[in-house]
């Protein structure tokens, strides 16, 4: 077979990179970055996912057709997330959709 056999050292490197990035994402959550906390968390998670897809799932060594198939999945996920959120943030007076109000007279249930 023409299958690529990755060296063990590569798998260990990816493993330690994933562990370090997990530490980074936890540490970053304790720093107040305002709106960027979420962006940092998603960037780190996206990078970790890319490492898993590229090396652990061997997409790096697959045919162009397989790579295109993987990219198609990300494309449709982007449509699902992007279009849905564009819809929600662009409603109402175009300053952002006002969420359903939380009942101002809410009471704790009696027990």
């Amino acid at each position: 077979m023409s299958d690529h056999v990755s060296p063990v050292s590569l798998y260990l490197t990816i493993f330690f990179a994933l562990m370090i990035l997990t530490g980074v994402t936890v540490a970053a959550a304790f720093v107040n970055l305002g709106q960027f906390n979420f962006a940092v968390a998603m960037l780190v998670a996206g990078f970790k996912a890319s490492l898993v897809v590229w090396f652990f799932m061997h997409v790096k060594y697959q045919s162009h057709l397989t790579k295109l198939t993987v990219a198609t999945g990300l494309f449709f996920l982007a449509i699902l997330l992007g279009m849905s959120l564009i819809d929600y943030v662009s409603r109402g007076d175009f300053k952002g959709y006002v969420p359903p109000p939380v009942n101002p007279d809410a009471q704790m249930p009696a027990r």
């Binding site: 107040n32 799932m57 849905s84």
Partner: protein
């Protein structure tokens, strides 16, 4: 892909040409058969991405709407257990990758060993999840008629642990910023009682669906491990090991996103 297929003759003297016993008759070569399996598996994983994607969209919209509630509720999760589970799952992805590598290199013994280790780590993950869920049930943090956002503080106040943070008596939703003194909250405890249930509904749905995938994954591994133990795989044919590996890594990736989204909404003060 270069099709350097080893045409080893396994005693198919009557066949019109010799081929690997695992080669199905509708494929020309092992490489072609493998490629079809890989693409098919990825197409299945795409449907799984969109399956979880719907939940991620729901999460995003509610998080934007009720960020304060999500931030408060997220702090109720244990960073220790969540972080440990992330490490366990990444470790299981490593052992899975090494299992595939052992199969690629004709190492039957270590294929089985790495697969068993992967299953064990998967079970550790599920065990930690049981501890976390049990804690949620014990603290009335499961959405439904028994959900009680203030149970934690009422319980602590009753036990006299830290009376300073107790919201006081019945907590009829009058005082803002009652929750453990993090900061001034826009929502009263009674409003949090409603909105945090949205967070915990998503928490249980997303982690529950993920845990279901883990259970299916462990079941899949049992079959693959048995097949590997019987010596069904070699360097020319290990597609089932690789395919279940793709599934396992996918479930790992879902958790890589769930961990920051659920446990790390807003950890700084």
């Amino acid at each position: 892909m270069s099709n350097a297929v080893a045409h080893a003759d396994h005693g198919h003297a009557d066949a019109h040409h010799a081929h690997h016993p695992a080669l199905q008759h509708h494929f020309d070569t092992m490489a072609q058969q493998k490629e079809a399996a890989v693409i098919g598996m990825w197409v299945f994983l795409l449907t799984e991405i969109l399956f979880f994607g719907g939940l991620f969209v729901a999460y995003m919209i509610y998080r934007v709407w009720y960020f304060d509630a999500f931030a408060e509720a997220s702090r109720r999760l244990s960073l220790f257990w969540g972080g440990l589970n992330t490490a366990v799952l990444i470790g299981s992805s490593l052992t899975m990758a090494l299992a595939v590598r052992a199969a690629q290199t004709n190492n039957r013994k270590w294929t089985v060993n790495w697969l068993v280790l992967t299953m064990l780590l998967g079970c550790v993950f599920l065990g930690v999840k049981v501890i976390e869920y049990e804690d949620k049930f014990a603290n009335y943090e499961v959405p439904g008629p028994n959900y009680n956002w203030l149970y934690h503080e009422q319980h602590a106040a009753a036990a006299g642990d830290h009376p300073a943070t107790s919201p006081g008596g019945g907590a009829e939703g009058a005082a803002p910023a009652a929750a453990a003194g993090h900061r001034e909250l826009a929502l009263t405890p009674a409003q949090l009682q409603n909105t945090t249930q949205i967070y915990f509904s998503l928490y249980f749905t997303m982690t529950g669906l993920h845990a279901l995938h883990m259970i299916i994954g462990v079941g899949l591994m049992m079959v693959i491990t048995w097949m590997a133990y019987q010596g069904r795989f070699d360097a020319a044919y290990y597609t089932p090991v690789e395919m279940s590996g793709l599934y396992w890594h996918f479930v790992d990736i879902v958790w890589i996103f769930l961990f920051p989204l659920l446990y790390l909404v807003e950890r700084h003060q």
